[in-house]
């Protein structure tokens, strides 16, 4: 090979040879510059390994991936618990109620019956006894082993598999049907904590305090982070083969998962979580005041924002910060009523570009955000200001004092010539209120340009609305100014990076991880604030898989536990 290159070069005319030499030197210089000026990832610090309950979406995705999207899930899901701004973190903190257990049981029964029904079983079983009343141990082992690997997101240990096979055997004897027995085995898996919870395990063979997750837990983190679904067979194979122990193997899987159809779903799911869209389940509007707002519009409003985010961040590889000034979006005719915008497309989504004077810049001016953070019958600068600080800037605002007197506010709601600003001025005289309201209200005042359902307005109760406010020293007087202030706030990209990482690892960031967060933000800026690049950076970083060894788990016990759990099978 080297000889061929030398011979090729020797035969080149001198100018061409000079060009090739300069080109190679240029490339080497560029590489050296990148190496010199790009900062290295800080040493992994890790946090505790987590146990997280599958979200409703993840549960549904798991069942759809393993048994097909036509598999009906009949149980209902509890309202998720949010912690540190994310349900993704709350899933590791909330308990499980008797209602949830009951509903998981209902779903498991339905799924197992559907999968092993006469109509569908052939799609999952390529074996079976000649006589249905007899138990076929090899077939049961094969089905339960393969299905269990996908459900538990790791191979079953021999003890676990024997347990499920034994259960199926005894059920076959009692029920007189191999398939009924297998159904019970599958049902048992579907209600097992190993399916319902993402239980992270630490890799064996490392005596340090900072260790890595085992290969299957790595696969699980990668998969749920990048597809919001459990690992597929290829990812589990990669875990089994040890290829996730090296950065090349991880990068390969990250690229594959980010190219998959599920990746946009994962991005949407993250933003739906960050934007607290699960709260729409409890959001209602007074139909007399906001006749255009109904449950269909609420659903479409969420989809509008998610569609806009997907289009901007993934299709156009846009700058995350531009989400706060973006005027391109999508509307349906129902949403067009609230936006007071003509929508020529009869059905589906119409791509729309709001003009600069249309008072719609950024996702904070979308109906989803505005309606969610309002009262049923009126807007609220406080709720909107609080939400902007909490959701977009990751800033904490304390809860109101228990003794707060709301009557002074309520008395003035519908009075002539009284705006929200006038009403909230009352708080400035209450020292216990003033501290927090000074933080929340000034940024919310700009969004008073929209009523409680998100329609644009210029007056409230007959008075012209004053939109002026302030965001951490940046004064503004219009919704467009607020959009710019939010976009350019230094905490805006930092907050996203923090949320993204905490969502991925399922816990709050630790004190020691702040350098890693700085590194992520630096990289985010270098990548022009492109979210896919940020996600790739997180997923391929050593910190992503690092965990602090649990206090009660010395290295030897970890190794023993992993062996018992089938690690490396």
């Amino acid at each position: 090979m080297a000889n061929r290159v030398s011979s090729l070069m020797a035969n080149m005319p001198i100018p061409a040879r000079q060009f090739v030499v300069f080109a190679i030197m240029g490339l080497m210089l560029a590489f050296a510059a990148v190496m010199l000026f790009s900062s290295d990832e800080p040493d992994p610090e890790g946090g505790p390994p987590t146990v997280r309950r599958l979200t409703e979406e993840q549960y549904r995705n798991a069942i759809a991936d393993i048994f097909g999207p036509e598999t009906e899930i009949t149980g209902r899901f509890e309202r998720p618990f949010r912690s540190h701004g994310l349900v993704a973190v709350g899933t590791g903190a909330a308990g499980i109620s008797p209602f949830a257990v009951e509903q998981y049981e209902v779903s498991a029964r339905g799924i197992a019956a559907s999968v092993l029904s006469k109509k569908r079983r052939a799609a999952f079983l390529d074996c079976g006894p000649k006589n249905e009343t007899e138990f076929d141990a090899a077939c049961a082992q094969k089905f339960l082993g393969e299905t269990g690997r996908l459900l538990f997101r790791r191979p079953l240990s021999q003890d676990e598999l024997s347990g499920f096979v034994g259960l199926s055997r005894s059920a076959t004897g009692q029920l007189g049907s191999f398939y009924a027995g297998l159904e019970l085995g599958l049902y048992s898996m579907l209600i097992a904590p190993d399916f319902l919870f993402r239980i992270e395990r630490v890799a064996a063979g490392n005596d340090g305090a900072i260790v890595e997750l085992d290969a299957y837990s790595k696969a699980e983190r990668l998969s749920f982070f990048l597809t919001n679904a459990p690992p597929d067979a290829e990812l589990l194979d990669a875990a089994a083969s040890g290829s996730l122990d090296g950065s090349w193997g991880v990068s390969r899987q990250v690229s594959r998962l980010m190219d998959s159809e599920r990746y946009p779903e994962a991005v949407r799911s993250f933003f739906a979580d960050m934007l607290e869209f699960d709260d729409f389940g409890e959001t209602s509007k007074d139909p007399q005041i906001y006749p255009a707002f109904n449950s269909v519009v609420a659903g479409e409003a969420q989809e509008q924002t998610l569609k806009t985010i997907e289009d901007h961040l993934l299709e156009n590889r846009g700058d995350y910060r531009d989400l706060f000034t973006l005027r391109d979006t999508f509307l349906t005719r129902s949403l067009g009523v609230i936006y007071k915008t003509p929508i020529p497309k009869r059905e589906g989504w119409q791509a729309v570009r709001f003009q600069p004077d249309a008072n719609r810049a950024g996702i904070q001016s979308h109906v989803a955000f505005l309606a969610l953070h309002s009262h049923p019958g009126r807007s609220s600068p406080t709720l909107r200001g609080y939400a902007m600080r909490k959701i977009f800037l990751c800033q904490e605002v304390p809860d109101p004092p228990a003794s707060v007197n709301f009557t002074a506010i309520e008395e003035h709601v519908d009075k002539a010539n009284v705006t929200a600003r006038d009403r909230l001025d009352i708080h400035s005289t209450e020292p216990s209120c003033a501290g927090c309201h000074k933080v929340m209200d000034p940024i919310g005042f700009a969004l008073e340009a929209y009523d409680g359902a998100g329609s644009h307005r210029t007056h409230e109760n007959g008075s012209l609305i004053d939109l002026s406010g302030d965001l951490d020293g940046q004064a503004f007087a219009s919704t467009n100014d607020l959009a710019e202030a939010l976009r350019n706030h230094p905490e805006t990209p930092r907050c996203l990076a923090q949320r993204m990482y905490t969502s991925a690892v399922g816990r709050d960031i630790t004190w020691k991880e702040r350098y890693y967060l700085d590194w992520l933000i630096e990289g985010f800026a270098d990548d022009d604030y492109q979210v896919p690049s940020l996600m790739e950076r997180i997923a391929t970083s050593d910190n992503f898989f690092a965990v602090v060894r649990p206090m009660d788990q010395p290295a030897r016990r970890v190794a023993k536990n992993n062996a018992a759990n089938g690690d490396g099978q």
Binding site: T341, P342, I343, V352, R360
Partner: protein, 404 residues
């Protein structure tokens, strides 16, 4: 040299193609629409969807001096007043009811079996259909012909203009004279309003103004009155929503374009022929209005409230309102005959009129569009309406609602 020239041409062609491609990419129209802020008037356009629509009629006439002979009668009532229609001794309510209905059906047909609803022109004069000749009767609406017809001959012919409660004189509203003594056209009668179909998406009306500078005063505005091709957008309590988007019916005959003016917040249009959809009992019909004009007040919040009035061809009015002879099915074919005949006779029975009676009244009271012989062929018809802000767009595709 030739080789060099060919090579240069190749390069130039490649550059031209690349430049063309880039230009095409740059200027290729995307389907993203531009959205602006604003209220009702945008780029000089303001549109409305009609949310209330009913015949503009006067105060109840039945039971007053306006109907001295009582209300019009249906065939069962007419039969019951004949010798054969009297109740026989010992006859039960049920048996008598059945006999009356059968008798009514019998007088609904000619001796050769042809039904009078389908063939009203062959029917003998129906003396039981009353028309409202009272010169003192009132009705709202517009003076269509610019004349206040109150002469003796007008009194004789029945073509008397009305005075409205708001002081308007010369109101041409002969349809009210034709139906004023029918029970179903009184204040609480079922025929007075028919907007339910509008709220379930069967039909609708759009009004668009263009070239509007000021909703209070504008000497020249263009007006398009068209049939709506989309269902009305409603609130949970089934009220029309403001600022919904609607498509005009793509058929040119379902739109009328005219001009007009706004004076002190009142829109007045020039006459134009318009045509709307109308659905009865699953039959698709058309409601035409010749020389239709609007006089309506525009409120500050964009609500239009007033009259749409003109002349309706007598035969067409009979067909969409009483006889349903032109009813079509969803595929545009003539509706099943049994449905057409049954609906017309059933409606006449329930609403308290006869088909032939209405045919005769409409012809007698017709006051517009005389033919060569001088016979009037249309009847003045007034509608009261309210319209609210909307966006109206053109639609290249198929109508969401079937257009027949």
């Amino acid at each position: 040299m030739a080789h060099k020239t060919a090579s240069s041409r190749l390069w130039l062609s490649a550059i031209a193609i690349a430049a063309g491609g880039m230009a095409a990419w740059w200027w290729w129209p995307d389907d993203r629409i531009s959205a602006e802020s604003g209220g009702l008037i945008r780029d000089g356009n303001a549109s409305f969807i009609v949310t209330k629509f009913a015949y503009a009629l006067g105060p109840d006439a039945v039971g007053t001096d306006s109907c001295p002979n009582g209300p019009s009668k249906n065939v069962a009532e007419i039969f019951s007043e004949t010798a054969n229609g009297k109740r026989r001794a010992g006859e039960t309510d049920e048996a008598y009811g059945e006999r009356i209905e059968a008798g009514g059906r019998a007088i609904s047909n000619a001796p050769d079996g042809r039904n009078f609803c389908v063939n009203p022109e062959i029917a003998p004069l129906d003396p039981n259909t009353q028309i409202m000749l009272d010169p003192k009767a009132q009705a709202g609406g517009i003076d269509l012909d610019g004349k206040n017809s109150r002469s003796k001959s007008d009194l004789t012919s029945g073509r008397l203009d009305f005075a409205a409660a708001d002081g308007t004189t010369g109101v041409d509203n002969q349809f009210w004279r034709a139906v004023g003594c029918n029970r179903s056209y009184q204040q609480d009668g079922p025929s007075r309003g028919f907007e339910e179909g509008m709220y379930v998406g069967e039909w609708g009306i759009l009004i668009s103004l263009s070239g509007v500078d000021d909703l209070e005063n504008d000497s020249d505005v263009d007006i398009t009155i068209s049939a709506n091709a989309d269902p009305m957008m409603l609130s949970p309590s089934r009220e029309a929503l403001d600022y919904g988007t609607y498509s005009r019916d793509r058929e040119p005959r379902f739109r009328g374009q005219t001009s007009g003016r706004i004076e002190n917040g009142v829109l007045v249009s020039e006459p134009v022929d318009v045509r709307f959809h109308y659905v009865v009992n699953g039959m698709y019909l058309e409601r035409p209005l010749r020389e239709a004009r609007i006089r309506a007040r525009l409120s500050a919040d964009g609500v239009m409230d007033g009259y749409l009035a003109g002349y309706t061809d007598v035969v067409e009015l009979y067909d969409f309102q009483f006889g349903y002879r032109t009813g079509k099915d969803a595929e545009g074919k003539p509706s099943d005959e049994a449905r057409r005949v049954g609906s017309a006779n059933g409606a006449a029975r329930v609403l308290g009129h006869t088909c032939q009676g209405m045919w005769q009244s409409l012809h007698k009271l017709a006051d517009g569009h005389p033919d060569k012989s001088g016979k009037f062929t249309s009847i003045s018809t007034q509608y009261k309406f309210e319209a609210r802000p909307a966006f109206v767009v053109e639609q290249s595709g198929k109508n969401a609602k079937q257009t027949k």
